[in-house]
Structures are given as structure tokens and as C-alpha cells.
């Protein structure tokens, strides 16, 4: 709650970096979307025990971040928001699968620890890939990219509106929090006993605000789907990018790169 303003500005930081002009930014939106989806599918397909096999997969986000001049800090900040969720999923593994998987430096590593690590790694990889997509493609580009990939307009519009409403709720929350703290100078945050009223009010206000925004949209001819700029076909260069990255992902997936690199030095 403390940092609503800063999370709004983080959201903006990500959007702002989408305005840059680098090799990655210049790629067509659908190309980036397809590549990201393939990457996600590959990551998800790894088994629970394949921790060491996942590590080389960081190569792709690292390269794209470097080429796209995306500040590491921006991505890391957002990543930290997502990790706690998978932490909960991962912890249950720690508790339930206690049988020893292997011994590392005299410590018994349980199967639970291995799958915990792989869940965390997978989350980190997937979230990073999506964040990079957002940081290199502006929201309209994404929307239009999804449309040209034949994602139904209704769904695209939902995603766009959800994105917009997150901003609305955050803004309302920040205004209300200021109003609260100005009249409760001794409090650091919102007192637990006021939290119910605060959240209730926040929801009502956000609904009201969303309703007004929706009305304003209708006044300008909005009829359930946002109209976007012209669609273009994926260029030859785009297909080339998709092919090269996909082949690379498949290599990572089916060739044990860490073992290969290891064997080169042994």
C-alpha cells in the first residue's frame, strides 16, 4: 500500500521503455508475441526435476534485454511482485516431497527442493519473457498484434481495459490513501480497523470512475471493441526472427547444453 504511486510509476517505466527505438522495438508486434508464446510453451514443457536444464534458458531474456536496452532494474522490480505467488505454490512441494533426490556437498537435496527450485525458475523465466514483451512493445502495438494473430477482438479489448482499470484503481487508492493520512497524521498506513471501509470505498469509487470512463468512450463511438491502426502482415524478416529463435529454443530444450558445455571442459 505504501508504494502505490511508485507502482504506478513502475508501470509507466515499463510503458515508457516501450517507446524506445532499438532492433527489438522495431520488430513487428505479432512477431514478438509469437516468439514469446513459443518460449513460454518451451519453458512450461520442462519436467519438475530439470533445474540445471532451465538455467541456460536465461540466455534468451538476457540477450533481448541487452539488445532492447531494457534496464535490468525495471524488470527485476516487477519480477519481485510476481515471485511471491509462485513461492506459495513452491513451498507446498518442499513440505510434501521429502524423499532425497541426490546428495550435493554432503547435504541431502530432497525432490521437494528440486521441484521448488524449478517452479521458481520457471516463473522467473516466464514472467521475465512477458515483461520484456511489454517493455519493447507499446500497448496498442500489443493489441493490434493480438488482433492480427486472430485473437478475438472481445478478448483483446478486455485485456486493454483491464490494463487501463488497474491504473484507475491504483490512482484512486493513492488519492484515498493521501486523504486518509492527511487526517491521521500519526499513522504510517491505513489502520486495520479502517481497512474494510477503505477497501469497500475503493471498489465503489473505482467502479464509478470506470463507469465514467466507459461513458466517455461510448461518447466517442466505442461499441465494444477498440479500433486500432492498420494491420500489417508479418514480414520476411519477422518470420526469420521467429524461425531462428524457435530453433534456438528447441535446441535448448532437447540438447543438454549444460552437459555439453561441461563435457567440452572435462
Amino acid at each position: 500500500m505504501q508504494d502505490i504511486k511508485s507502482s504506478i510509476s513502475q508501470m509507466n517505466a515499463l510503458e515508457l521503455s516501450a517507446q524506445k527505438n532499438t532492433i527489438i522495438h522495431r520488430l513487428q508486434a505479432p512477431v514478438k508475441i509469437i516468439t514469446t508464446v513459443i518460449y513460454l510453451l518451451i519453458i512450461i514443457s520442462y519436467g519438475q526435476g530439470q533445474v540445471s536444464r532451465l538455467i541456460p534458458c536465461f540466455f534468451y531474456p538476457a540477450v533481448v534485454m541487452a539488445l532492447g536496452e531494457i534496464p535490468f532494474k525495471t524488470i527485476a522490480g516487477r519480477l519481485l511482485i510476481a515471485l511471491p505467488f509462485s513461492l506459495f505454490a513452491g513451498i507446498s512441494n518442499l513440505m510434501f516431497s521429502r524423499e532425497t533426490a541426490f546428495i550435493l556437498g554432503g547435504i541431502a537435496v530432497t525432490a521437494g527442493m528440486v521441484s521448488f527450485a524449478s517452479i521458481m525458475l520457471k516463473t522467473a523465466l516466464c514472467v521475465t519473457a512477458v515483461l520484456i514483451l511489454i517493455a519493447t512493445t507499446d500497448m496498442n502495438g500489443l493489441a493490434y498484434g493480438m488482433l492480427s494473430l486472430r485473437v478475438p477482438p472481445v478478448i483483446v479489448t478486455q485485456i486493454m481495459l483491464t490494463y487501463r482499470y488497474i491504473g484507475v484503481i491504483a490512482e484512486e487508492a493513492s488519492v484515498m490513501r493521501h486523504a486518509y493520512l492527511l487526517r491521521a497524521p500519526n499513522e504510517k498506513g491505513i489502520r486495520m480497523k479502517d481497512m474494510g471501509a477503505f477497501l469497500g470505498q475503493l471498489i465503489i469509487r473505482s467502479f464509478d470512475r470506470s463507469e465514467r470512463i466507459y461513458n466517455a468512450m461510448k461518447c466517442r463511438g466505442y461499441e465494444g471493441r477498440i479500433a486500432y491502426s492498420d494491420r500489417e502482415k508479418i514480414s520476411l524478416k519477422g518470420w526469420a526472427y521467429i524461425t531462428v529463435t524457435s530453433v534456438f529454443f528447441l535446441l535448448l530444450r532437447f540438447v543438454n547444453v549444460s552437459a555439453l558445455v561441461g563435457s567440452l571442459f572435462l
Binding site: E15, C219, G221, A227, S229
Partner: protein, 241 residues
């Protein structure tokens, strides 16, 4: 131009706000709507563009009735500048925001570009086009919101409190702009001095009905009438004695 024939509007929660309201505006007129908080000004504007549909009476914009099947046509002709520009700007940058309506009505990207550069020139906001909507100052937001409506070349523009949040200089600039703007205007406002200066006619609303109507100079100067409507004289008429 705009004909409102005995409309009554009730909110879904049963709150009856307008009752048998009747009036019309001629082409090219600038008409002010004044009235206390809660008199029903915003409600009236929302009914004209069909966000609220009156349960009685009817509204005609250039002869076209405001009803479900005509909404798209009505909204192309009548634009609303909202009370709070934050509600109006929702795309990530100003350019896309101004383009929103045009794209909805199927204009090509080239036309969109031309029209936006035109309106940006008129309003002097070329520099803001690539800015983030929520990083603008209150006054800049208002101008951006205005641009997003005017770019659609409506023949009737409805304004809800256009001068709120503006500093005196920006307010003055906006007023001069409105004076020169050759479309039919309906302006809901508490800024009586502005109404006096730029409106040909005013409509005084009280409890959801027309309380008085007439030439701006006559109505706004009538101390008894204004008092009865719960309002005061414009500052410039209060005199310093």
C-alpha cells in the same frame, strides 16, 4: 439543431432527476445551463448523447431522435467534453487518445494523422501529442480532452464545467477559444461570468426543471430570479460598493 421535448430522466436507483424538461437550441447558438449542485446539468448532457435514455419525452439532434439505433450517428454529431478530463483520457498517450474516436468511426490512419495535426495546431498542443496522458497538468489535460472531441468535427459540443481546474490565464485562453469556435455549444457551468461573456442564452435549472430561460444578459443580471434559483449574480455584476 437540438430539440428536447418534455423529457423525464430517472436513475436506475429510482432517483428522479429531470422532469418534463423542454427546450431547444438553434444552429450556431451558444447556450449556458446554470443551476445549483445536483440540479441535473450533467444528467441533461448525458441524456443528449444517449448515455441516459429518458423514460418520457424525446430528444432530437439535427432532426435525428436519440434512441438505441441512432446512437452511433448521434455521437458522431454531438461531442461531450467531460467535467473531469481524467475520465476522458484513457489511451496511453495523447495522440492515441485523440485518435480514438476517429478510429472508432473507421477513418484511415492517414486521415487520422492529418486531422490530429490540424487540431493540435489550432490548440497549440503539438508538443504534448507523444506525452503520457496522466503526466499532463490539469489544464493540459483539459485541452487534450477538448482536442479529442473537436477532432471529430461535431456540429454540437456539450461542455460540462469547461473552466473548472483552470488557472485564470488558461481559463481566459479557453474562453477566447470557445468564443471563436463556430459550432453549436451547450455549456453546463457554475462559472457565471463565463456564461455571461460567451453565451447567447442561458437556461436556469432547478430541481430538474427549467426554472428560467432567456438572454444571458437579462437572466444572469436578474438578482431576484437568480436568488430564487439558489444562485448569485456573476462576480462582475455584484459591484463593489
Amino acid at each position: 439543431m437540438l430539440k428536447i421535448e418534455s423529457i423525464s430522466v430517472t436513475y436506475p436507483d429510482g432517483h428522479k432527476v429531470l422532469e418534463h424538461l423542454d427546450f431547444h437550441i438553434e444552429k450556431g447558438e451558444t447556450v449556458g445551463i446554470v443551476g445549483t449542485n445536483g440540479a441535473g446539468k450533467s444528467t441533461l448532457l448525458m441524456s443528449v448523447v444517449g448515455i441516459l435514455i429518458p423514460e418520457e419525452g424525446r430528444i432530437l439532434v439535427e432532426g435525428t431522435e436519440v434512441c438505441k439505433k441512432n446512437l452511433s450517428e448521434i455521437r458522431r454529431r454531438a461531442g461531450v467534453v467531460f467535467q473531469n478530463p481524467d475520465d476522458q483520457l484513457f489511451m496511453s498517450n495523447v495522440y492515441d487518445d485523440i485518435a480514438f474516436g476517429l478510429r472508432n468511426y473507421g477513418d484511415s490512419e492517414e486521415t487520422v494523422r492529418e486531422k490530429i495535426s490540424g487540431i493540435a495546431g489550432v490548440l497549440g498542443i503539438e508538443k504534448l501529442l507523444q506525452s503520457h496522458s496522466h503526466k499532463l497538468s490539469g489544464g493540459e489535460k483539459r485541452i487534450a480532452a477538448l482536442a479529442s472531441i473537436l477532432v471529430m468535427e461535431p456540429s454540437l459540443v456539450l461542455f460540462d464545467e469547461p473552466t473548472s481546474f483552470l488557472d485564470p490565464k488558461t481559463r481566459r485562453k479557453l474562453m477566447n477559444f470557445l468564443k471563436g469556435l463556430e459550432v453549436t455549444k451547450l455549456i453546463a457551468t457554475h462559472d457565471l461570468d463565463m456564461a455571461l461573456e460567451i453565451c447567447d442564452r442561458v437556461l436556469v435549472l432547478k430541481d430538474g426543471a427549467v426554472f428560467a430561460e432567456g438572454r444571458a444578459r437579462e437572466i444572469l443580471a436578474d438578482e431576484k430570479l437568480m436568488d430564487a434559483a439558489g444562485l448569485e449574480l456573476p462576480f462582475c455584476m455584484q459591484g463593489i460598493e
